[in-house]
C-alpha cells in the first residue's frame, strides 16, 4: 500500500473510530446523562452510576422536572422509593435528589439548584445525625460559604442563589466527557456486561433499588454487610471532639436547614423533614462513643430551627428511635431474616420500611397493619420528654445486652 493511501485510511479511521466510540457511550449512557432508552439486558441497569450521583443527578433533576423532591444522603436514596404507592396521589413526579456520602451543605445546595428550574411543590428532606456531627473550630463568620468543586460547578445557582454563569460550559464539559472519555467507554462495556437482575442501578428517578446488596447477602451472608458498616461507624464515632454546633450554637448544617425552610416558605413548597431511622446497633455505637448528648442536641436543634423559622408550616418527624422496627436481632446465622426485614445494615433501611415512613408522614394507608407507630412527629410533642424516653430505652437495651 502506498503511504498516501495509508495516511488517508489512518485519518478516516480516526474519525470513524471516534464517532463509533462516542455513539456507543451515547447509546449505553452509563451515567444516565443523555436519557437514552433503557433496554433490558443491554443498558437497563447502570452500575457506573453507583459513585456518580454527584455527576448525573444535578442534570437529571432538571431534565425530569419533578414536582416533589426527596433530598438527603444514601439513606433516603435506598429507603424512599419515588415510585412507591405510599406517596399522596397529587405529588406528581417525584425525584430522589439524594447523594451518598455528600455533606449536608452539598445536599442543600443541590436542592436550591433543582428548585431553581423546576415546578417543585413538595420536598421531603431526610436528615442524618452523622452529617451534622462534625469537628468544629472557632465560630464562623459565614455559615454559608462558597465552595469549589466539580459538583458545585454543575449547579445552576451559587451559594447566594445567583445564577451560575459557567453552568452551561460545565454541562458541556460533563456531557462531552460522557461521550469522549475512556472512563465512559470502560463503563459502557461494564454496563453491557453487568445486566443481571441484581446489578447496581439507579432508576430514572434517582432511586437506588440496592438489589446488589442481595447478591452480597446471598454469597457472603448479611453479617458481612453488618460488620462492615459497624466498623465504619465505630471508626467515625471514635473521633473525639465532634459536635453538632459550635460555640455560637450554630453550624453550616443548621444554616442549611434554615435556608431550606425559608426557601420552602417563600416558594410555597410543602416541606417535610424527617430524621432517618437506624437499627438499634447504630444507637449502641452512638451511646458507646459518648455522643448520645450530641444526638439529643441534634434533635433539639432541628426542633428549634423548625419552630423558629417554620411558621408552623413545616413538619418534623423523628424515626431515629427505639421501635418495633429498629429493634430487631443483629444478624446471625439463625436470625438473619428478622434483621433483614427492615434494614440492609445498621445505617441503611429498606424501601419497605421507607413505605412505613411515608405512610406515617403523609397519612397514607398503603402498608399492612403496623406493629406500632414508626416515628413521632416532633412538632406536637414535648421534646424533653421524648428524649428522656429514648434515653430510658437506650439504658434498658444496654442492660438487656449486658444480662
Amino acid at each position: 500500500m502506498s503511504i498516501k493511501k495509508y495516511a488517508l485510511i489512518y485519518g478516516l479511521s480516526i474519525i470513524v473510530i471516534t464517532g463509533l466510540l462516542a455513539s456507543i457511550n451515547y447509546f449505553i449512557d452509563p451515567y444516565l446523562l443523555y436519557g437514552s432508552n433503557r433496554i433490558s439486558g443491554i443498558n437497563d441497569k447502570k452500575p457506573a452510576t453507583a459513585n456518580r450521583s454527584a455527576l448525573f443527578k444535578p442534570y437529571q433533576a432538571i431534565a425530569v422536572k419533578p414536582t416533589t423532591l426527596v433530598v438527603g444522603n444514601s439513606r433516603p436514596e435506598m429507603g424512599i422509593n419515588p415510585e412507591s404507592s405510599c406517596w399522596p396521589n397529587h405529588y406528581g413526579t417525584i425525584y430522589s435528589l439524594t447523594f451518598p456520602g455528600m455533606s449536608f451543605y452539598g445536599q442543600i445546595r443541590a436542592l436550591f439548584h433543582a428548585v431553581s428550574d423546576s415546578p417543585v411543590e413538595n420536598i421531603l428532606l431526610g436528615v442524618d445525625f452523622v452529617d451534622f456531627l462534625q469537628l468544629r473550630e472557632q465560630p464562623k463568620k459565614n455559615y454559608w460559604p462558597p465552595r469549589n468543586s466539580d459538583f458545585f460547578d454543575r449547579l445552576r445557582v451559587d451559594e447566594k442563589s445567583n445564577s451560575n454563569s459557567s453552568y452551561r460550559y460545565n454541562q458541556l464539559k460533563d456531557f462531552s466527557a460522557g461521550l469522549f472519555s475512556l472512563t465512559a467507554l470502560n463503563d459502557s462495556v461494564s454496563t453491557l456486561l453487568s445486566q443481571n437482575v441484581n446489578s447496581v442501578n439507579r432508576t430514572h428517578l434517582g432511586f437506588n433499588p440496592a438489589r446488589d446488596y442481595l447478591d452480597i447477602i446471598r454469597h457472603e451472608g448479611p453479617r458481612v454487610l453488618y460488620r462492615q458498616k459497624m466498623n465504619e461507624l465505630n471508626k467515625r464515632f471514635e473521633q473525639p471532639g465532634m459536635s453538632v454546633y459550635d460555640a455560637k450554637l450554630w453550624s453550616t448544617e443548621f444554616e442549611g436547614l434554615k435556608r431550606t425552610i425559608q426557601l420552602a416558605l417563600a416558594q410555597n413548597i410543602q416541606l417535610t423533614i424527617y430524621i432517618n431511622p437506624y437499627h438499634y446497633s447504630y444507637f449502641e455505637a452512638i451511646e458507646k462513643s459518648g455522643y448520645w448528648p450530641e444526638f439529643e442536641a441534634f434533635k433539639k436543634g432541628l426542633m428549634q430551627v423548625v419552630k423558629q423559622y417554620g411558621q408552623n408550616k413545616v413538619a418534623l418527624w423523628d424515626f431515629a428511635l427505639y421501635s418495633n422496627y429498629t429493634v430487631s436481632p443483629k444478624p446471625s446465622k439463625k436470625e438473619a431474616k428478622k434483621f433483614l426485614r427492615w434494614f440492609w445494615e445498621p445505617a441503611h433501611y429498606k424501601a419497605k420500611l421507607g413505605e412505613y415512613l411515608l405512610s406515617d408522614m403523609y397519612q397514607q394507608s398503603c402498608v399492612k397493619k403496623k406493629l406500632s407507630p414508626v416515628g413521632v412527629k416532633l412538632n406536637d410533642i414535648d421534646i424533653d420528654r421524648h428524649l428522656a424516653k429514648q434515653r430510658q430505652l437506650s439504658a434498658f437495651m444496654t442492660l438487656q445486652i449486658e444480662q
Binding site: 454527584a54 456520602g101 455533606s103 460522557g178 454469597h219
Partner: protein
C-alpha cells in the same frame, strides 16, 4: 506542558510542526531551528516561566565553557582546558545540588547533629537532572576532544529540543547535533509523520491507558503502607506488582512519545527501553531499562571511576558506587539511594555468579529452558522488591510493604472471593489463609491487570515492531536480538490493519485524557 494533555496534542504540537517546516521552506533552516528553540522554551516555561532563566543561564554558561575548552584544547593548553572543565562540573553539579539536593542535605544534617538549619522549600525545576547530565557529557567530551564547535542555536536545540527535554531519553551531542545540521531533515516527510505519529500513539496508549490504568491499583496500597496499615500478603504483592508495571509503562510510554514526536521532525532519538522485564539477569536488565541513563552512567561515571581497569574488587566497588549515584539521580531521598545500592549489590552478585559459572563450567545452563525460566523469575522478583523502595514515600513505608510481601501480616483474600470458593475454603483455612471484608473488586482487578501486563511485556517492543519497516528504523544504544511473543505478526507495515490499529490506539489514548470524576465518599 505534558505530552499527555490536550493543549500539547491539539495546539502546541501542530503549531510547532507547521511553524517549523513553514519557516524552513520560506525563510531558512537557521530560522526554523531558532523557532524550534523558542517553541521548546515555551514548552518548558509553560510549567513555571521563572525557571526559563535557569535553563537559559545553564545553556549559556555551558556553551561558553564548551567552546573555551575546545579552543584551549586545540591550542594544546590542556591544563587550562581541564580547569574550565572543573569549573563546568562545579557549576552544573552545584546547580543540581542546590535545586535538587539542598533540602535533603539540610534535613540530614539536622537529623545527624540535632541542628535546626532551615531552608525554604526549593521547588525542583523540571528536567534539571536531564539537561544537567547532557551538558556535563558535552563538557567532558569537549575536554576529551570529541566535541566539535557548534552554533549556539544548534547547541540550544540539543539541550532544549522539547521531545526529550522533560523526561529523556538522555541524548548525546554526538547523536543529536549532526542531525540538526542535515538539510534533508528540514523538509517535512509524510513517512516521518506517519511513523512518528504511530510511535507517539503507542507511547500515549502505554502512558494513558496502561500506566494510568494500573496506577489505581498500586497507589492505594502504597498510601496504606505510608499510613502504617498492616498489609496482608496478596495485597502487598498486588501493589508492588502493579507499581512495577505502572512505572515501566509510564516511563517507556513517555520515551516512545518523545521518540515519535522527534521522528515527526525528522530527528531520531535513541531508544530508552527494550522490554526490560524480559531480562534473565540484572546485568541484562540494566542494558534494557532506561538505556540512555545506563549509557551515561557507564561512560561518564563508571569509566571515570576506573571501570574494570583496576582489578575485580575495585570494579565491583565502582559498579556499586555508580549505582548509588544512579539511585540518587532519581530523587533526593535515602529510599532512592537504597534502591540504587540494592541494584549495585544485585549487579555485584550477578557478576560474581558469572565468574563462578565460568570457573565451574556451568555456562550450558543458559540453554536450559527451566533454568531460563528460573533466571527470569529470580530477576523479576529482585526488581519488584527493589521498586518498593523506589516508590515508597519513606523507609518506614517500604518496610511496611516488605512485611506484607513476606507474610508478616498473614495471607488473606477478600471475603467476596473467599465466600465463592466452596470446598476450597476449608483447605485455605487449614493452611492459615483468612478473609477480610471489602476490596473484592479492587483485589480481582489488580491481579487481572498484573496477569495481563505480565503477558504484554513478553510481546515485541516498539523498536521490534517498527524496525521491520525501512522508514521506521530506530536507534538503540545497545544491540538486542530477542523478539518476544508474536514477533512474526507484530511487524509494522503500511496496510489497512496497521492504519486502524494505530488510529484506534490514538483515539483510545486521547479518550483516556479525560476522566469522568467519581465521588467516593469525600466530604466537601
Amino acid at each position: 506542558m505534558l505530552f499527555n494533555s490536550y493543549i500539547f496534542i491539539f495546539a502546541f504540537l501542530p503549531f510547532t510542526f507547521l511553524g517549523y517546516f513553514f519557516l524552513a521552506k520560506h525563510k531558512s533552516g537557521e530560522t526554523a531551528i531558532s523557532f524550534l528553540v523558542l517553541a521548546s522554551l515555551f514548552f518548558y516555561g509553560w510549567w513555571n516561566p521563572i525557571y526559563l532563566l535557569l535553563i537559559l543561564v545553564s545553556m549559556a554558561v555551558n556553551y561558553g565553557l564548551g567552546e573555551t575548552i575546545v579552543r584551549r584544547r586545540n591550542s594544546q593548553k590542556f591544563k587550562q582546558a581541564q580547569g574550565f572543565l572543573i569549573y563546568g562540573l562545579i557549576f552544573n553539579l552545584g546547580l543540581l545540588a542546590y535545586f535538587k539536593y539542598a533540602n535533603f542535605i539540610v534535613d540530614n544534617i539536622n537529623s545527624l547533629f540535632s541542628s535546626g538549619f532551615n531552608l525554604d522549600e526549593i521547588i525542583l525545576p523540571l528536567a534539571i537532572s536531564f539537561f544537567t547530565f547532557q551538558q556535563i557529557a558535552y563538557l567532558i567530551d569537549a575536554y576529551r576532544g570529541i566535541t566539535k564547535e557548534f552554533k549556539f542555536s544548534h547547541y540550544a536545540l540539543f539541550v532544549t529540543f522539547f521531545p526529550q527535554l522533560i523526561a529523556g531519553p538522555i541524548v548525546h551531542h554526538k547523536e543529536m547535533l549532526p542531525q540538526f545540521m542535515q538539510m534533508d531533515n528540514l523538509k517535512p516527510k509524510l513517512e516521518n509523520m506517519i511513523i512518528g505519529l504511530t510511535i507517539f500513539s503507542l507511547g500515549l496508549f502505554k502512558k494513558v491507558v496502561i500506566a494510568d490504568g494500573v496506577a489505581q491499583y498500586s497507589t492505594p496500597v502504597f498510601d496504606a503502607a505510608a499510613a502504617g496499615e498492616a498489609l496482608s500478603f496478596f495485597i502487598a504483592w498486588g501493589g508492588a506488582l502493579a507499581y512495577s508495571f505502572q512505572l515501566y509503562f509510564d516511563f517507556s510510554g513517555y520515551s516512545d512519545m518523545a521518540i515519535g514526536i522527534a521522528k515527526m521532525f525528522g530527528i531520531l532519538l535513541p531508544l530508552n527501553f527494550a522490554s526490560p522485564y524480559k531480562s534473565l539477569s540484572i546485568i541484562e536488565f540494566w542494558r534494557r531499562w532506561h538505556m540512555t541513563l545506563s549509557r551515561f552512567l557507564r561512560d561518564y561515571v563508571y569509566i571515570s571511576l576506573g571501570g574494570n581497569r583496576k582489578g575485580d574488587v575495585r570494579r565491583f566497588a565502582n559498579l556499586f558506587a555508580t549505582m548509588l549515584l544512579g539511585g540518587l539521580w532519581h530523587g533526593a531521598g535515602w529510599t532512592f539511594v537504597f534502591w540504587g545500592g540494592l541494584h549495585g549489590l544485585y549487579l555485584v552478585i550477578n557478576h560474581g555468579w558469572h565468574y563462578l559459572q565460568r570457573k565451574a563450567k556451568l555456562e550450558f545452563l543458559h540453554q536450559n529452558l527451566l533454568w531460563r525460566v528460573f533466571s527470569w523469575f529470580l530477576t523479576f522478583f529482585a526488581i519488584v522488591n527493589a521498586w518498593v523502595f523506589f516508590r515508597a514515600s519513606s523507609f518506614t513505608a517500604a518496610v511496611v510493604m516488605m512485611e506484607g510481601m513476606y507474610g508478616f501480616n498473614g495471607v488473606a483474600i477478600p471475603n467476596a472471593i473467599f465466600a465463592r470458593l466452596g470446598g476450597l475454603q476449608t483447605i485455605l483455612n487449614q493452611i492459615g489463609v483468612t478473609s477480610f471484608i471489602g476490596g473484592g473488586s479492587q483485589f480481582m482487578f489488580t491481579y487481572l491487570w498484573v496477569s495481563a501486563l505480565l503477558v504484554a511485556v513478553l510481546l515485541p517492543n516498539t523498536q521490534q515492531i517498527m524496525n521491520s519497516h525501512p522508514d521506521a528504523q530506530l536507534r538503540s544504544p545497545y544491540a538486542l536480538c530477542d523478539q518476544g511473543l508474536l514477533s512474526g505478526k507484530l511487524k509494522f507495515r503500511y496496510g489497512v490493519c496497521w492504519a486502524m490499529v494505530s488510529a484506534c490506539a490514538l483515539v483510545i489514548a486521547v479518550f483516556g485524557l479525560t476522566r469522568v470524576s467519581e465521588f467516593l465518599y469525600f466530604q466537601f
